[in-house]
Symmetry: C2
């Protein structure tokens, strides 16, 4: 593949946070009505001013800076003292051992961990099973590596218990030779959580076909009342065939420090470090120090954060419920809503642009997550509660305006 | 290529900073004499405690943190306000315009910039001209991309003016189809600076053969008395065919923040951002704020830093000059020495390990930089002056002990 062709497939024009690089040319002709006033809300990512970083994070960074060279220049896979500190906490959380020395790497964000894990397990021509919808970068990583994506559908609006993964399609993908299955749990963008039964069957299928599973559990701490969560790595699966990815960028609002971790299969972690050595050397040294408080937050802090998000979720769901033709599932975890809109008079991509221009509301088009999700939009509702509520009212007003 | 084969070629066992993962098994039998006492010195990277970060860097980080979400979530290519602040400074330094909007990207370290620049210009099967010796990751990046390296020799110990690049070999590589020429100036590991004539000829050859040039100028601010420096991008070359890479990790000791920049060819920068979006999203948001002081340090600060390094350089060169059979060129810029050792009774790799075990001195084996440089070792002399002097005395004592 030529490098031109390769990069044309990696378009980021609609990626979350890149909206300011878009042009609004030609949209005026389609516009109905005037502006909808209100405080602008950027649902493309969480608002760390409304939900600030874990208390004490800056002091830990500051102490890391004071430590000097020892904190600035760590092993490529991250400072061993910090790895030894967080490994038992990750083991406790996920229900299976974590080897601080050989089974854990600190990366520049969860995005870094995803790239490294996939590049350490997949090469040109390999087949990779990817859920639709799922995190927008998964597909692009497969394309960058010139591997072949086999999509596996998830009926996230369905009424089945669990996430709604089509396990038959997953088996067909593995039978067709998929070496790796990559999925997020809770699912980004739909906020659904895989049931114990789904996770058990994923483990059984991966074992049967010898596949490696990379599971992005970025949002697995932000779980709402009644959500049961099953950690794949704690189940009946070869630990050398599972890589689990997490990070403190979302629930803990530490994104500005660029931190993520991957843990599990030592052979994969070793490759990830080799690759990290040539793509970014290491996660920012001083930032690594911030991980010292991870999974050790003050009592009640996480419960409060969850309660705040659950309240916002419920507010927004109530507004969408009052808008005819909008279908949305209540997320069991994470801070994403993925409403499916009724048919509109304009193309979904134009509606997303007009939402920003007319209503001051940025959302991410569903097509970033699945080619079959053009009628959906993704909202990260980790926002100021009243601003988010008003913004979603503007979204539904816009739906009514542009309804077909 | 299988993924196993691919990663076997990416070995990092001898990469700078990874020494603590090495095993010392089997070395005892070769050991001559006892330990050489002294304060351990790690020449594999600079000592940011001896040469601390630019004054005020932490306050800028702190202000970035206080700014909150706007600083945590920037465009993938970095905060536009910061890009607009540093673009004119980079333009002034390099002698050619820098477009803040489309021609500049902030990356997680200079390593991040190198990876992105190469991955944005080279794909599988492409030919890439690489200098020998040069930065250890250059070759590995080519291997990761499954491209083909064409080595171009540099006679860095020679007596020619300039770096000693074999321009005939460079032309042969371009004639053979090399799409990209990647080199560091000042050279890492040898500290040599390319002459105006060499840079002019590189520009002419690249133009003639339509190649893109990626020039890693990481150390181009740390220049010693009498060193003339020519910026490739200021010369007679299509600006869309040059990407210049810099960063504040070395001279400015800001490595712990993980910051680098690439600037020049807008088409390449655009691709680099697309790729950054899926490998690490962005350079750490709060860290980006530290760039506000870059190229705007207090008057005299840079001159002092250069003078301190020049003094260390001269101390160490004097010790090596007194050791029979050691050949070393005085670096004109940067903080690397790359002495060529006399023939020893043990393998060069074992000597490097014994240096660490017996003498408490970590250096990087020459083979990381060129297959033809097994007899050389690299030292980053950005260290405490007296500790470095004592450590180099231990190196020469070890050379005498193991001399063939």
């Amino acid at each position: 593949m030529s490098i031109d062709a390769k990069f044309q497939r990696l378009a980021t024009d609609n990626a979350p946070g890149q909206e300011l690089r878009q042009s609004a040319d030609g949209l005026a002709a389609q516009m109905i009505g005037g502006p909808l006033e209100g405080r602008p809300v950027d649902f493309s990512h969480g608002d760390v001013d409304a939900h600030p970083p874990t208390p004490g994070s800056f002091d830990l960074f500051s102490a890391g800076y004071e430590m000097g060279g020892a904190q600035a220049y760590t092993e490529y896979r991250g400072d061993i003292g910090i790895r030894e500190m967080i490994a038992p906490r990750l083991a406790r959380f996920t229900g299976a051992p974590v080897d601080a020395k050989d089974g854990l790497i600190i990366t520049p964000g969860t995005q870094g961990a995803l790239f490294l894990a996939l590049a350490a397990t997949v090469t040109r021509g390999d087949k990779v099973a990817i859920v639709q919808p799922d995190y927008f970068a998964n597909r692009k990583l497969v394309e960058f590596l010139e591997a072949e994506m086999i999509p596996v559908q998830m009926d996230y609006l369905g009424t089945k218990t669990g996430a709604g993964l089509d396990l038959g399609e997953l088996e067909a993908a593995l039978k067709a030779g998929a070496k790796v299955f990559l999925f997020s749990n809770p699912n980004n963008p739909a906020g659904v959580v895989y049931s114990a039964d789904e996770i058990t069957q994923i483990a059984a299928l991966a074992t049967q076909y010898g596949a490696t599973v990379i599971v992005d559990q970025l949002y697995s701490r932000l779980r709402y009342v009644g959500a049961d969560y099953t950690h794949l790595r704690a189940g009946a699966i070869d630990p050398e065939k599972v890589v689990t990815i997490m990070g403190p960028s979302k629930t803990e609002s530490l994104s500005g420090y660029r931190l993520g971790v991957a843990f599990g299969a030592a052979s994969v972690i070793a490759r990830m470090e080799k690759l990290q050595a040539i793509v970014s050397l290491r996660a920012p040294g001083y930032s690594q120090a911030v991980l010292r408080s991870w999974f050790d937050e003050a009592p009640g802090w996480m419960e409060d954060r969850i309660a705040q998000h659950q309240a916002i979720r419920d507010d927004l769901l109530a507004v969408f419920a009052g808008c005819e033709g909008v279908l949305v599932r209540s997320p069991q975890a994470g801070s994403y809503l993925f409403p499916h809109l009724p048919k509109l008079r304009i193309a979904p991509g134009d509606f997303v642009k007009l939402l920003r221009l007319q209503a001051g509301v940025s959302v991410t088009p569903g097509t970033e997550f699945s080619p079959h999700a053009a009628q959906s939009i993704r909202l990260n509702f980790s926002q100021d509660r009243s601003a988010a509520l008003a913004a979603v009212r503007r979204i539904t007003a816009m739906v009514d305006r542009y309804r077909a």
